[in-house]
């Protein structure tokens, strides 16, 4: 479940180019080829505002151990050209130890990049490409990188040929193009950044967080989905659609997000575990219906892949700023579940768990993923195999005595009848009701049902999965979601520097677990809170629901730039 910190041997490579140059393609192939030799890593893409074909940047990080965040700087920036490079300079921090590879024919790197002091390795990428029929500079570049990283060329050949040959490119030419690049970099001693080969079991999975979340949903038993497209959540649904059909389920594109969630609710009311996926603006449209799911006690899962806000904001960039709406965005007193994956691959486990919790507790669950987690592709160890878990919903079976859908039980959960079962007919209702389900505005019924809906969440034992904890010490870092990646890495570095640090990433955000956190924080005297939101939403949440030591530091920043390990480490170092 837990993805350990990125090892310090990690190498970060940025590939940049204008529309059509193939930077993203190259980045993806590099990651895949690296995965095939047992390396692990991730790739995040960044693109310009054009709908299609604009400038693009692939950010790849590779290591021999799991990678769950970007690092502080890039070791290699490979520019296919310098058009619109200015757009990306913020995203590609370099230093004097970095290497810039570019074609001298494309001109000099922009001054902002040169100011980093990075060394320059000029290579005639275009001319080299032209030396091979159908040759392309991005493939030459991959050959170059293979040499510098000590990545076996065969691995690259396999993935490049498989990916591009089906687009009609001649396989032999592709191999030749790679070789040209590989050869051209042969003399570049001193520029190499080899990663050691991985031995032993090197089976790797290649997937994005959105795919992982969708798979988690399938494993959890989801067999119905209704969605409305929205960046950066659409690809989750696009992966799910054909697979749901294959397992006998169904995905429907609804007319809007309100319809999507209501359709999911209808299916779940009918006994079929259901899901929708969306992002901030869509989640905002769903909160009324989420309240219905709370009051009528219908399980449903909403995967919300966060992007920059407020409003339409920055749709293609990551941010952790939907925490508030996920926790508090329902009107009335409406207890529900909020969970957050702590890494790209953890999207699988967390979404599966969310389905199981929603089904068990007859309650909506929101999974807070984000653009980084959702759209970053990782090469990682295969997640533990898990049989698809059956829905754990408590069902009312056929029976004669009067059925009370909202009966008050010790656990707070009452057996739910599924249409089709004789003798169990009832009306699910968002109006306050008595245990039978008949609308009631009496104080006693309101209090009893409010208690029931709260208590079923509070009495449930969530076990250790509620948070991911690494290390021990008087200093704790509290974080969540994609910020957990850089925190994990910073904590490991701090430990290496002799600072005992406990890194805690909450996976279960609601209901809050004050007793559990108190246990984790016993002996902790100082807390650093790390989150990617402008208004310190996570800090506010912690203050509202948990007892924290007096000595608190906060590191928060909005998107689109990621939190980097060095930033976290700098805060921790104040306590050295």
């Amino acid at each position: 479940m837990s993805a350990p910190f990125s090892s310090t041997d990690a190498i970060a490579i940025a590939i940049m180019g204008s529309g059509g140059a193939g930077a993203i393609t190259a980045g993806g192939l590099l990651l895949e080829a690296a995965g095939r030799v047992g390396w692990q890593g991730l790739m995040t893409r960044s693109v310009g505002p054009q709908i299609r074909g604009g400038e693009a940047l692939a950010m790849v990080r590779l290591a021999t151990s799991p990678v769950s965040a970007h690092g502080d700087r890039f070791h290699i920036l490979l520019a296919l050209d310098w058009e619109n490079a200015e757009r990306f300079v913020d995203e590609v921090p370099l230093d004097a130890d970095s290497l810039i590879i570019s074609d001298p024919a494309a001109g000099d790197p922009p001054a902002t990049l040169r100011a980093s002091g990075a060394r320059l390795l000029p290579l005639p990428l275009d001319r080299l490409a032209e030396s091979v029929p159908e040759g392309r500079a991005n493939i030459v570049a991959l050959g170059v990188l293979a040499r510098l990283l000590a990545l076996p060329l065969e691995s690259l050949e396999t993935v490049v040929v498989r990916a591009l040959a089906r687009k009609g490119v001649n396989a032999a030419y592709l191999r030749q193009t790679l070789a040209v690049g590989h050869d051209a970099a042969a003399g570049c001693n001193g520029f190499q950044r080899p990663l050691p080969p991985v031995s032993g079991d090197s089976g790797r999975w290649l997937l994005t967080g959105n795919e992982a979340a969708a798979l988690g949903a399938l494993r959890g038993g989801v067999r119905f989905a209704a969605v409305y497209p929205i960046t950066p959540a659409t690809d989750l649904a696009e992966w799910l659609a054909p697979r749901l059909e294959q397992v006998g389920g169904h995905l429907i594109q609804a007319e809007d997000e309100i319809a999507a969630l209501n359709m999911a609710l209808g299916a779940s009311y009918g006994g079929v575990p259901a899901l929708t996926s969306t992002s901030g603006p869509g989640l905002a449209l769903m909160t009324e219906t989420l309240g219905l799911a709370v009051a009528a006690e219908i399980p449903v899962v909403v995967v919300n892949v966060m992007r920059g806000g407020p409003s339409t904001g920055i749709p293609t960039k990551s941010e952790q700023s939907d925490l508030n709406i996920a926790l508090y965005g329902l009107h009335g007193d409406a207890p529900h579940l909020v969970l957050a994956p702590t890494s790209v691959s953890d999207c699988l486990f967390t979404t599966q768990w969310a389905v199981q919790l929603a089904e068990t507790l007859q309650c909506p669950a929101i999974v807070l993923s984000d653009q980084f987690l959702g759209q970053t592709q990782v090469a990682c160890e295969p997640p533990p195999a898990a049989k698809p878990t059956a829905s754990t919903r408590v069902i009312a079976s056929v029976g004669g005595e009067r059925y009370h859908r909202y009966a008050l039980t010790p656990s707070g959960v009452s057996p739910m009848a599924i249409p089709g079962v004789p003798g169990r007919q009832y009306t699910a209702d968002g109006l306050e009701h008595n245990p039978h389900g008949t609308p009631s505005s009496r104080a006693a019924d309101h209090q009893a049902q409010l208690d029931k809906r709260r208590d079923k969440l509070l009495r449930y034992d969530y076990g250790a999965a509620w948070a991911e904890v690494e290390g021990e010490g008087e200093i704790a870092v509290l974080t969540w979601g994609s910020a957990a990646g850089p925190v994990r890495e910073a904590a490991a570095r701090a430990r290496a520097q002799g600072l005992a640090v406990k890194a805690i990433a909450l996976r279960l955000l609601a209901p809050a677990q004050p007793a559990r956190l108190a246990t984790l924080l016993s002996g902790v005297r100082r807390v650093l809170v790390v989150e990617q939101s402008h208004s310190q939403q996570f800090l506010g949440y912690l203050r509202a629901h948990y007892a924290l030591p007096a000595d608190i530091l906060i590191l928060n920043q909005p998107g689109p730039l990621p939190i980097r390990p060095a930033g976290v480490l700098a805060q921790l170092s104040q306590w050295k």
Binding site: Q246, V247, E255, N262, G271, T289, G420, Q425, T438
Partner: protein, 282 residues
């Protein structure tokens, strides 16, 4: 998809009263919605549908209170969203009979988008719109079917907007069964509902259902309604001709077309999860 199968039941006839629950309606005495309730029970009895195989789904409004008054499965959802709830249920559980109970405000004002798309999708649902040309539950505001000059507190002198013709809109949007009834004639509605439920696509049944409290003048509908005339047509252009000339008070089946290609059916499992997961391995 995990779902219940239609149980083997010993055949026995249901009477209208078998569909009535013991919850007392909150409706005003004389409210048209009582007629719809009675008609629904008669239609279900005539079709002899086991109550547990029927789901009545609604939004919010006086009309939308219907589910709890039936002995079927029910879902009293939120305002305007009954159709997507019902669509999700029907797609996940195609063997159930799914009926939507709605009002002119619920279906045509806040729920207008879902109405449009339910017509277009033509999924096998029966949608009853109890039209009283007013928001009853919130105490008398104009609805999309209210005349432009109807005086109310929120729109003194009238809202000034032309009323929507729900049947014409439904036809244009793709609904494949379109009918209108009058709540003062429960047998007539029962007949329409039987046909609507039997119809394998989206069936719209508008019911003129007077709000005796906020639109007492609607009691006059009893005198004003009249039969639509010729037999239902299967030709949309002919149906359009009739509906564009219609006075809004004629009852009967206007249109019964071929339902659209889409049908809610259970798909067989063609691949297991392990095979699906294998594609992630490098």
């Amino acid at each position: 998809m995990k779902r219940m199968s239609k149980p083997e039941i010993l055949h026995f006839s249901h009477a209208a009263k078998d569909y009535k629950s013991d919850v007392k309606p909150i409706w005003c005495p004389g409210c048209g919605h009582f007629g719809v309730q009675a008609a629904l029970f008669r239609a279900l009895a005539q079709l002899d549908l086991p109550p547990e195989q029927v789901a009545v789904i609604s939004g919010i409004g006086c009309s939308s209170r219907l589910p709890a008054y039936t002995e079927c499965y029910g879902f009293h959802g939120i305002h305007g969203r009954a159709l997507p709830l019902a669509t999700g249920l029907k797609l996940a559980r195609p063997e159930l009979t799914v009926i939507v109970a709605s009002g002119d405000g619920d279906a045509l004002s806040i729920g207008g988008n879902h109405f449009l798309h339910a017509c277009r999708r033509d999924v096998d649902l029966t949608c009853i719109v109890m039209d009283n040309a007013v928001y009853g539950m919130t105490k008398g505001q104009p609805s999309p079917t209210t005349a432009p000059d109807w005086n109310s507190k929120i729109a003194p002198g009238g809202a000034g907007f032309n009323p929507l013709q729900p049947l014409a809109v439904a036809l244009a949007a793709g609904a494949s069964f379109i009918a209108r009834g009058f709540s003062g004639d429960p047998n007539g509605i029962a007949h329409l509902l039987v046909e609507a439920i039997r119809h394998p696509g989206f069936a719209l049944v508008q019911v003129l259902s007077p709000c005796v409290t906020y639109r007492p003048e609607e009691k006059a509908w009893k005198q004003e309604v009249h039969a639509a005339g010729p037999e239902p047509t299967a030709d949309p252009a002919e149906a359009a001709r009739r509906l564009f000339a219609d006075d809004g008070l004629s009852t009967g089946i206007f249109y019964r077309g071929r339902p659209a290609p889409h049908a809610a059916t259970t798909r067989p499992v063609s691949r297991d999860l392990t095979t699906i997961e294998a594609a992630f391995a490098l």
